[in-house]
């Protein structure tokens, strides 16, 4: 009886595989994807087309009404919300290259094996990433306040007055927190990519007379281009989503308004301003903007890669 069953199943395996099998295997992914990605986006899109409407003084109840694209028109007319975009783009234009340069440099240094106690330093660079960004912002917030910051007091004692929360520099103080938090993870990704480059490449380069710097620039970096692209892209997306650091620092300075970044504006509109429908429209706009920027970066990357390939 049992052998017959086994034999039967074995035969079936050779014959017609159940047409449902692939779907079954994909199902968990699709389910999670729909539940946690598609559904929230769909809810946001639907929400953005409605508005809660009352009448008179409002005490006689309210109803949710379809308003078409009104919320989008309001979002685009909201100057403070729109001004957040160039602000984060400027921030990203400075912060992403700086972060990538620092992360890549550290990764390359670790890779040359010139660094002693490499494991310790890797850990030290990575550690800030393990600190939640809200905590990181709180921590730096202390260091930014003149009366409580040992760093600012030190500079004060040698005659240099720094005010990292002044309206002109506060954006870069935020960038500093993000940089401190995120260099570690980017460094680790780039370092792992470097580890997978075949060592013979370096040997060949050395025989051809390339020094460490030349090897780094012309062999190592091109070899880890995919990892560089990945980290750059995620940094750019992170830039557009900028929220935690300015939101926390907002509590200690008046130079960060509630709508400083698009994400903060969405939070302020939905939670403080109590208009979740308008906030949904803003969220859809931010999502689309992020998509466009990501596609642009990918396209630019493809063009340079193509050119490089043709050049070779």
């Amino acid at each position: 009886m049992s052998t017959a069953t086994v034999g039967g199943s074995r035969r079936r395996r050779h014959g017609a595989v159940s047409p449902w099998a692939p779907y079954l295997f994909v199902a968990p992914f699709v389910l999670l994807f729909v539940l946690f990605l598609v559904a929230p986006i769909a809810v946001a899109v639907v929400n953005s087309l409605f508005s809660r409407q009352s009448s008179g003084l409002g005490f006689s109840g309210s109803s949710i009404e379809f308003v078409g694209l009104t919320n989008f028109a309001r979002a685009f007319a909201d100057r403070d919300f729109i001004e957040g975009f160039p602000r984060v783009l400027l921030y990203g234009a400075v912060q992403v290259p700086v972060m990538m340069a620092v992360a890549a440099t550290i990764a390359l240094l670790f890779d040359t094996a010139l660094v002693k106690a490499r494991r310790f330093f890797q850990f030290a660079v990575f550690l800030p990433y393990a600190v939640p960004s809200v905590i990181a912002a709180l921590l730096w917030g202390f260091l930014y306040q003149p009366s409580v910051s040992p760093i600012l007091q030190f500079f004060e004692s040698i005659g240099i007055t720094l005010s990292p929360l002044a309206s002109t520099v506060v954006l870069w103080s935020i960038a500093n927190v993000a940089l401190w938090s995120l260099i570690g993870i980017n460094m680790i990704i780039l370092f792992s990519a470097l580890q997978s480059v075949p060592r013979e490449m370096y040997e060949a380069a050395r025989i051809d007379g390339a020094g460490e710097v030349r090897t780094a620039l012309q062999i190592k970096l091109p070899m880890i281009a995919p990892a560089l692209l990945l980290t750059t892209l995620s940094s750019i997306i992170g830039t557009l989503q900028l929220f935690n650091e300015p939101q926390v620092l907002q509590t200690i300075t008046s130079n960060i308004p509630s709508d400083y970044t698009p994400n903060m504006a969405i939070y302020a509109t939905s939670t403080l301003g109590k208009d979740p429908h308008l906030a949904s429209a803003m969220a859809v706009i931010l999502g689309l903007a992020t998509l466009v920027v990501s596609l642009l970066v990918l396209a630019a990357n493809k063009r340079t890669t193509n050119r490089a390939n043709h050049g070779l």
Binding site: S51, R52, Q53, S54, S55, G56, L57, G58, F59, G61, S62, R74, D80, F142, Q145, P146, S147, V148, S167, T251, I252, T253, S254, N255, I256, P257, S258, D259, A268, T271, L272, G273, K274, D275, P276, L278
Partner: protein, 426 residues
């Protein structure tokens, strides 16, 4: 003991959700009614435990609110969840009523009306219906460093005009000294002066709202602080930050004008300065005796509460009964909104931190002198966010207070209209 009770209550709550249908079967089946309560006043844990001990049929679980818990409540209620009872600033109550997040509890609490001050009862009543139980009010007075004033031979000012002179005199006497801090992030200090000037952000004319963010009284206050900022007579640090408390503790800030709940917080954060502070009435506008109030709180029954009557019963006991007044005043630092609270001997204790002064005498006087002109309205949160963003630009020197008020006024009217509400010009 208390922990055990809470755990037991929690377990009952879980089984309650699993077993009971929405209809009210709890009390008939012999199981106690469950009430989940969120609040922030110090010492509420003890009062809740006391209630649970005396009322086996209505068991309350308490959650201490911190950070942005208040904002979580709104999302939770809108999603059909959330606690049964929550402590709420009365400024936000109209918005809760309009968004249908609170229940009408007129039938359960109307008989207690006579025990509450008329102003506090008015702050929870709309359209003749009652939507909460008042929990404290916020009459304002000025906490000041009597040692600093004495050192420089300056009298604490009685009017805002004298206040300006005192600010100049202190600044002149000592370059590191400021009379006060203007926090661009703190709304209550603005609201109390608006009330003193008999203005209001909202009004009701027939069946429509009026918005008065930049009305006459507000402009008076705006011009006062503009002068203080323009002449560098005040610091402009956001309140509650380490930097702010550092300025208070090192004697840079000589006075703070705020509500009756502030003295205990000041004593906590500046414990090294005990005996050096006094409390005086908030300076007055010339020709007027008015005090101010930054706003009170209420305990409200949220929309999804299944046993509103039990929840309201607990809320009434917590805020109105004779048993709780002393604890709310001494532990909670509340300024009572009830008659039995106002006549409680606990209110008139000498305060060590304030050089053994009976500080509440000043706050009682302020409460009696606060004009009842303030009207709560539907988009307080929106106005607050907008105006504070604009104030930040004022302290940076990018615009004036008057401009900030005009921008906020316009935005507030637009926001109300977008909600479909009726708005008219006053």
């Amino acid at each position: 003991m208390r922990t055990a009770a809470t755990m037991l209550a929690g377990a009952v709550a879980v089984t309650g959700i699993a077993a009971c249908s929405p209809e009210e079967g709890a009390s008939t089946s012999g199981e106690p009614v469950e009430v989940e309560f969120w609040g922030w006043v110090p010492g509420l844990e003890e009062l809740v435990a006391e209630w649970n001990g005396d009322n086996p049929d209505i068991q309350v679980t308490f959650h201490r609110m911190t950070g942005d818990d208040g904002q979580k409540v709104e999302a939770a209620v809108d999603a059909g969840a959330g606690p049964d009872l929550v402590q709420l600033s009365t400024h936000n109550l109209p918005d809760y009523v309009i968004a249908e997040r609170v229940q009408d509890i007129t039938d359960y609490v109307a008989e207690d009306e006579s025990n509450y001050t008329p102003a506090s009862w008015a702050s929870v009543s709309f359209d003749g219906r009652v939507f909460g139980v008042p929990q404290g009010i916020g009459p304002a007075a000025t906490m000041y460093r009597h040692d600093i004033f004495a050192e420089h031979g300056i009298e604490f000012p009685g009017t805002w005009e004298e206040y300006l002179d005192a600010a100049r005199a202190l600044r002149e006497a000592d370059d590191d000294l400021y009379l006060a801090n203007l926090s661009p992030s703190e709304m209550g200090q603005w609201v109390q002066e608006i009330q003193q000037a008999e203005s209001s952000w909202y009004g009701i004319t027939d069946d429509a709202w009026t918005v008065g963010v930049d009305d006459e009284g507000s402009r008076l206050v705006a011009e006062r602080w503009q002068t203080l900022i323009d002449e560098d007579l005040v610091t402009t640090e956001p309140m509650w930050t380490p930097e702010y408390w550092s300025l208070v503790n090192d004697g840079t800030i000589a006075s703070i004008t705020y509500a009756a709940w502030f003295p205990s917080i000041l004593a906590e954060n500046a414990s090294g300065l005990a005996g050096q502070w006094s409390v005086a009435p908030m300076p007055t506008n010339t020709g007027s005796n008015n005090g101010g109030d930054s706003g009170g709180a209420a305990v409200v029954v949220l929309a999804n509460a299944e046993a509103p009557e039990a929840a309201a019963e607990f809320a009434s006991w917590l805020n109105g009964s004779d048993d709780t007044q002393e604890a709310l005043i001494t532990e909670g630092g509340l300024f009572p909104s009830t008659e039995n609270g106002l006549s409680s001997p606990a209110l008139l204790q000498e305060n060590e931190f304030y050089d053994d002064q009976v500080i509440n005498e000043v706050f009682i006087e302020a409460a009696e002198n606060t004009p009842a002109t303030w009207v709560e309205g539907p988009n307080f949160g929106f106005i607050q966010t907008t105006i504070l963003d604009e104030f930040a630009e004022v302290v940076n020197g990018e615009q004036t207070f008057i401009e900030a008020l005009e921008i906020t006024q316009e935005a507030a009217v637009a926001d109300l209209e977008n909600r479909g509400l009726e708005v008219t010009s006053p």
